[in-house]
Symmetry: C2
Subunit: 471 residues, 2 copies
Amino acid sequence: MRHAVSLLALSLLAAPALANDATGLDAGDIATAETLREQAMAGSAAWDIVESLTTEVGPRLAGTPADARAVAWARAKFESLGFDKVYLEPVTFPVWLRHREQAAVLAPAPQPLVVTALGGSVGTGGQPLQAPIVEFATLDALKAAPEGSLAGKIAFISNRMERFRDGRGYGPAVGARSNGAVEAARKGAVAVLIRSIGTSHDRFAHTGVMRYADDVPRIPAAALSNPDADQLVRLLGRGQEVTVSLDISAETVGEYTSHNVIGEITGRELPGEVVTLGGHLDSWDQGTGAIDDGAGVGITMAAGALVGKLGQAPRRTVRVIAYANEEQGLFGGKAYAEARAAAGEIDAQQLGAESDFGAGRVYALRAGVDPAAWPVIVKIGEVLAPLGVVTEREGGSPGPDVGPIVAKGAPWAQLAQDGTDYFDYHHTPNDTLDKIDPKALDQQVAAYAVLAYLAAETEVDFGRAPAAPAK
Amino acid sequence: MRHAVSLLALSLLAAPALANDATGLDAGDIATAETLREQAMAGSAAWDIVESLTTEVGPRLAGTPADARAVAWARAKFESLGFDKVYLEPVTFPVWLRHREQAAVLAPAPQPLVVTALGGSVGTGGQPLQAPIVEFATLDALKAAPEGSLAGKIAFISNRMERFRDGRGYGPAVGARSNGAVEAARKGAVAVLIRSIGTSHDRFAHTGVMRYADDVPRIPAAALSNPDADQLVRLLGRGQEVTVSLDISAETVGEYTSHNVIGEITGRELPGEVVTLGGHLDSWDQGTGAIDDGAGVGITMAAGALVGKLGQAPRRTVRVIAYANEEQGLFGGKAYAEARAAAGEIDAQQLGAESDFGAGRVYALRAGVDPAAWPVIVKIGEVLAPLGVVTEREGGSPGPDVGPIVAKGAPWAQLAQDGTDYFDYHHTPNDTLDKIDPKALDQQVAAYAVLAYLAAETEVDFGRAPAAPAK
């Protein structure tokens, strides 16, 4: 819906400058956005926020005591940054715990392997599982194996993720992680090992969530580091049977209620209409969740805080959301969308954006909005252009936690980041603060602050989103 | 000693070309060396050798079953490469075993830490040790602490190694690893944690040997990865006491006799005079010992094999040595030197070189020889120049395993390698085959083959070494 009547009435009251019809923004709005951009580029709070989260909380696997510490941290941080309304919304999910994981080649060349249990995996029953491995070049090759052909064996999926700036190598590769256990179990396998869904040569295994199906046994699932996967390929290439030992202790134990932590800069005219920014507060357990997604939390908190420090708030509310448990199934994003639907607030969602692709610079603006609102996106893109950001009419997708509300019709924007090295670090012990360039964070804060401010200030309604293109 | 009489006699017999008086080399010798260089650059056996060692044996901590597998591998590899004499010499040393290592911050921000026990460390007595940490910027700062001031505390030495092409950041930093436990124990500490002696931001802790003294208690010693050391520094910087849990299981158990594995290309005229190349066969346990020192073994085996494939062997014997247990105290190099001394063969050592600085390209030739033999080094350098190698009159040092025989007077040469990234990987789980550029290995094989051939072919005696400059 549009708010033409109320906006018209208000603009007649305030009317400091003439708003452009198509963008709903006037020269003063653009000047304010440019000031926000330059303030952020001169040095934002983002790095300090990430430093605080990753140092004082550290890793924060959903459902662990660190989850509660992270929620308390986020609430206090929003308050200290001057958000005028700070609150929690409950998010409930099953709790998965990693206790131990070890693997080794037993024969023909005994040596340890670097592995990590995939999120959600069962354990090996209190003792190491020992079995020969059978390699499949892809998940599809595993699917094509004869029924029962893997009885007593470990399936090893060896496909390698490719590196791209936009991370598009992830999609084709990640099926091995998500569905490898189900497909391997269908063929009778006792476990599945995958090459990490990651791009570096460092000897870190990448964790990440996997799933089971009710009609096949739940078998343990783990990822090997790229060098370890290479090693198994070399050993298998010598034509001998390769036997591996896999010892995983992990369990899914009950439910936990964490929280989406929300900070708002209340809109001066249309407080019930919201522009949302966010990142996810949880992380995997191995690193300190600096790039995934301390960066997103820091960037969007800092951007929101900058908007909050303006002489007056924008027309609409700017809402920054630190989502709970993104990693294990977008629980925070789903809970947020369901709560809005239950409250009849879907139409109040004006534009949603999430930063969850690391700490690299923003290079493109994309959006899913009513075509009538596209001139606003173009205008926002003009203010972002000095940051090296181009506006792209096609493609893009909302961030993971924005997806559920977009599925209910909410419009979205994407500030696409350079993710060239994102999959070198994500979901590994190596996701630590030192991987972040503070200046790159400032550029992102600049982009998010401009986006949030202008989207909240414009008189134009972003409408309902066209269906988001598949990523 | 010189062999002027016999060489003169032989050169009168063979005399295909006129040897230059100062270099003892003729044009045919240089042409042969150039051919060796070009053969190596066109593709050597080195990468395949390293691939074989790191895949089929993997990590090979001295004194473990993998040590014996490595010795058997090296013997078979020398034989398959056409060395005409292959034999073992015993090397005995204490056995140190790593069983387990874990650490965590307990307060104020509970989180795991990535650590590795230092080689030789005792354990924590079967249970985690929990104590506050006290930071020292350097080993010297720790030495300056008052007696008893660390009672019940863990000393944390936070100095950072600097990166240089020639690795000269290692010396000033490594004292914290070697002597940290002794100095911390003198002040009453219950354990010592050091920042890894390494240059990368990757979350790997670098192991390496440490020592104890008889007059102070033996306390556990471990290294933190660089990101983990940064994290402790940040936590301490907040002014609160930081308590750490450290759980190490490790032990020194009896002695083991391994072997230096030796392959020779027997000299055609002076078989009792030897030019030695080598690398060390053992590795730390965490990686597969690809750059430290599979590379050195592969390079020098391949270089020796190339010389062995010439139509005729050089005058002197070329001896390639895969040294035992370098990592824990140069045991192989010491045993080699002692065996030569016992047999009265020190004077038979014509020139010794070791490759133990990773897999980077060679950029300089240096030597410790009788000044009368310097023209030979210059001539060798001329043949190496197309490889990007410069000859340097000053500086340099023999490789670690060559040191003990140099201390007894043997001459040495150094083919200095680019070690810019060496300390990113060495002594970590990340020391794996993928870190090696096969073309860089070929360049090194070219350099070692030229060095070995010309040093073995020249009529000039390299004399006794000037004292090696301190590294």
